[in-house]
């Protein structure tokens, strides 16, 4: 009777999933499918341009003519080119001095901002301004500040205060021009360092300072034994970024001096651009750009190994 018919409804087996469903349930396929977009993006926008750049460095391609493989010829020429070595020297010098300046001033600023001040948030916002303004705009501002005829600094010193009788020639000779650019770069880089380090400072627990105060520590001791070690991890990563940004800087130098006077302020990036794009020597420009890679790899490894050491992170011994 109807009672005996009932089990038939229950005997229905679960439907086999379709091939598409099975496909999307297989783990290897899923891994590939999910990674593919990311790999595609990386390949198209990172690996291909980088690979092409490296390939071009070994050809004599110019704008308008496909080059042929010339092996190391570009590098051989560059290694005999004093202008190239000058750019290497200035890139390293610029990065070194500007990084030290940025970190000294940035850390100081961060410590000041970490105190309780009236209008704290407003002050922090203002500090960020040099970083927010597009580099080219601040470069143009500095270009005016350093102008041989119309510099505001010269105007103040000569016409207002009367301390000098001639304008300062900021960019007319090698060393003043180099230092002027470094000052501009430091001015621009301080906010990044200061705000990042401020974030680090705020993660340090106040109880550490309280305990130290109870032990009768001095201000310097608190900085040396609490603030600095606790800040080390973030200091290392901010420094890596800062070194990379500074080493590959282009806009400040290009807008203010274009590498002049007589090539004394060329960075590798500006020299690579000048030779490669306006000069049309794509191969040689690429070779100059490629020669920046070892320096950048070094900076990255520095941070990688630095960060993986617990001493830097927790102020303990090496392990």
């Amino acid at each position: 009777m109807s009672v005996t018919a009932a089990p038939a409804a229950w005997s229905k087996v679960r439907q086999d999933p379709g091939w598409l469903v099975r496909l999307f349930d297989t783990k290897p396929f899923l891994i590939v499918a999910c990674l593919l977009p990311a790999l595609g993006l990386l390949g198209v926008f990172l690996t291909y341009p980088l690979g092409l750049g490296i390939y071009l460095a070994f050809t004599d391609t110019t704008i308008g003519r496909r080059g042929i493989w010339v092996g190391l010829e570009n590098f051989e020429y560059l290694f005999t080119d004093p202008i190239f070595w000058n750019a290497v020297f200035y890139s390293v010098f610029y990065t070194g001095v500007a990084t030290i300046g940025k970190f000294a001033l940035g850390l100081w600023l961060a410590l000041l901002l970490n105190n309780h001040l009236p209008f704290k948030s407003l002050l922090r916002a203002i500090i960020l301004l040099p970083w927010i303004v597009p580099t080219v705009l601040s470069a143009i501002a500095f270009w005016w500040i350093y102008d041989p005829q119309f510099s505001i600094i010269s105007y103040l010193l000569v016409d207002v205060l009367g301390w000098r009788s001639t304008n300062i020639d900021f960019l007319g000779s090698a060393w003043p021009a180099r230092w002027s650019l470094i000052v501009a770069n430091i001015w621009r880089g301080i906010p990044f360092v200061a705000i990042s380090l401020l974030a680090g400072l705020q993660t340090i627990s106040p109880s550490l300072y309280e305990a130290a105060l109870l032990d009768g520590s001095t201000g310097w001791q608190r900085f040396r034994y609490i603030t600095f070690p606790m800040l080390m991890p973030i200091l290392a990563i901010v420094m890596t970024f800062s070194i990379i940004f500074t080493f590959t800087d282009f806009q400040l130098v290009y807008a203010i001096t274009r590498g002049g006077p007589v090539n004394s302020t060329h960075l590798l990036a500006t020299l690579a651009f000048q030779r490669g794009i306006p000069g049309g020597q794509l191969g040689e420009g690429a070779a100059i750009a490629v020669s920046m890679i070892p320096f950048l790899v070094f900076a990255t490894l520095f941070s990688y190994f630095g960060l993986s050491r617990r001493k830097w992170q927790q102020g303990e011994g090496n392990d």
Binding site: I63, G64, P261, V262, I277
Partner: protein, 446 residues
């Protein structure tokens, strides 16, 4: 057409000063010019059915330049039915866009580039000898700079539309105070003038920084006026010559008379210093004159300003290579006849003279007959630009135009040779050797 220009002018007035006032007048009603056209047979260019053209051009100096250019192209469309699209691109981009177009074989049919552009892509552009010969016969012949930039091995591969030169620009009152009526044509006299100007504290100033236009113009003048050259007729590097060393030795005396800071001058620095009255003698294109003329506050300076070619020195004529607008038609164009017909059409009096006048002197004609254009009667001071293309010097003088000359200019080889001597970093001999080393690299055979 009239409506079009009126509307655009309204926008233009808001944009920039009175340069337009002058320009508008000429754009709306070009003065009649006594231009003589000789009989010549126009080559038969049967237009391809359904032809459309795309043209790329550097952006304008003054608004009427663009207006008249577009109007001329519109008239071509009206008369032939060939649609023409004109795009204006920034000056820095035109070389790269040309390179991409030439290499990919796609993009605009016509590019109006600069200087030696067509020479870099000689195998990618069409031979324009037929229309160039026709235009040359009809309008009194091509001027020397037009031939240098337009021709390669006896054939026209580019069609020059005009050039912009860089004469000396100076303050009459300052020169008079220094005891000169006009800049002398010889080196010794020019040095005396600069020394005298320095004494009365109204010095000269010439860019020695990495300034693409002004820096190269001055360095080229210095070397060329002493008989030196970067490469010889065959393209072999010849910069390390006694003539160059003479030029650099001369610069060592000349440089101390300049205002301080010229080693870091860019392209705009001398304009500012001149407009501010800090210098009384420099070298620049016509833009400097117009910028002071059109500023009411500067009217007295404009009144006091004169322009003359740079001193000849040992050369036959003032050594100055104008910046040439040079049109090329690409082989990949599907409508080569239409493209050639358009270029020839634009060079005919009815189109070219209004355009020349609209440019109020920024561009100077490549064809002799247009020297009679009313452009050159509008302001006697601008007349110095009339013969810009009568120059026997070109960028890359005196070799064939190659990518080497482009690279050497972009790398400031000549400018830095001069700057290193002026700053005392190098002796003339060492500087010439260094320039030779760098140039040898750029001009190497490949």
């Amino acid at each position: 057409m009239a409506n079009l220009i009126t509307r655009r002018d309204a926008a233009a007035v808001a944009m920039a000063g009175a340069s337009l006032a002058l320009g508008q007048a000429s754009a709306q009603a070009p003065a009649a010019s006594p231009i003589v056209a000789l009989p010549a047979e126009r080559p038969a260019l049967p237009l391809e059915p359904g032809a459309t053209l795309r043209m790329l051009r550097p952006v304008r100096f003054v608004q009427p330049d663009e207006d008249v250019w577009r109007a001329n192209c519109a008239r071509f469309t009206q008369q032939t039915g060939v649609q023409v699209r004109v795009d204006f691109v920034g000056w820095e981009d035109i070389t790269q866009q040309t390179a991409v177009t030439a290499n990919t074989g796609a993009g605009p049919d016509i590019i109006v580039g600069f200087d030696g552009g067509p020479h870099l892509f000689a195998d990618k552009v069409l031979d324009l000898t037929d229309i160039a010969t026709y235009l040359g016969t009809k309008y009194g012949g091509w001027r020397p700079l037009a031939r240098a930039d337009g021709m390669r091995q006896g054939r026209f591969i580019g069609l020059p539309f005009g050039a912009s030169g860089g004469p000396a620009i100076w303050r009459t009152s300052a020169l008079r105070e220094a005891g000169f009526e006009r800049p002398p044509e010889d080196h010794a006299g020019f040095l005396r003038l600069c020394q005298a100007l320095r004494r009365i504290n109204k010095p000269a100033g010439f860019a020695l920084g990495n300034a693409v236009g002004d820096g190269n113009a001055f360095a080229n003048w210095l070397v060329w006026s002493h008989g030196g050259f970067l490469v010889d007729e065959n393209g072999a590097v010849g910069i390390n010559s006694p003539q160059t060393i003479n030029a650099l030795t001369y610069l060592r005396e000349l440089y101390p008379t300049f205002i301080n800071g010229t080693l870091s001058w860019g392209d705009i620095s001398n304009n500012r210093a001149y407009a501010a009255g800090e210098i009384s003698l420099t070298q620049n294109g016509v833009s400097l004159y117009f910028s002071i003329k059109n500023d009411p506050a500067m009217a007295p300076i404009a009144e006091d300003t004169q322009m003359t070619p740079m001193p000849k020195g040992l050369a036959d004529a003032a050594p100055n290579a104008g910046l040439t607008l040079n049109a090329m038609v690409f082989r990949h164009s599907r409508f080569p006849n239409a493209a050639k017909a358009l270029l020839a059409f634009l060079m005919e009096t009815e189109q070219y003279d209004p355009w020349l006048q609209a440019n109020i002197g920024y561009w100077s004609q490549p064809l002799n007959a247009y020297a009679a254009s009313a452009t050159w009667n509008q302001d006697p001071k601008v007349a110095v630009f009339r013969d810009t293309m009568n120059s026997n010097f070109w960028n890359g003088f005196k070799g064939p135009i190659t990518e080497g000359s482009v690279a050497a200019t972009a790398d400031y080889v000549m400018v830095q040779m001069c700057a290193s001597v002026a700053s005392g970093q190098a002796t003339p001999q060492a500087a010439a050797r260094e320039a030779e080393r760098r140039a040898t690299r750029f001009f190497r055979a490949r």
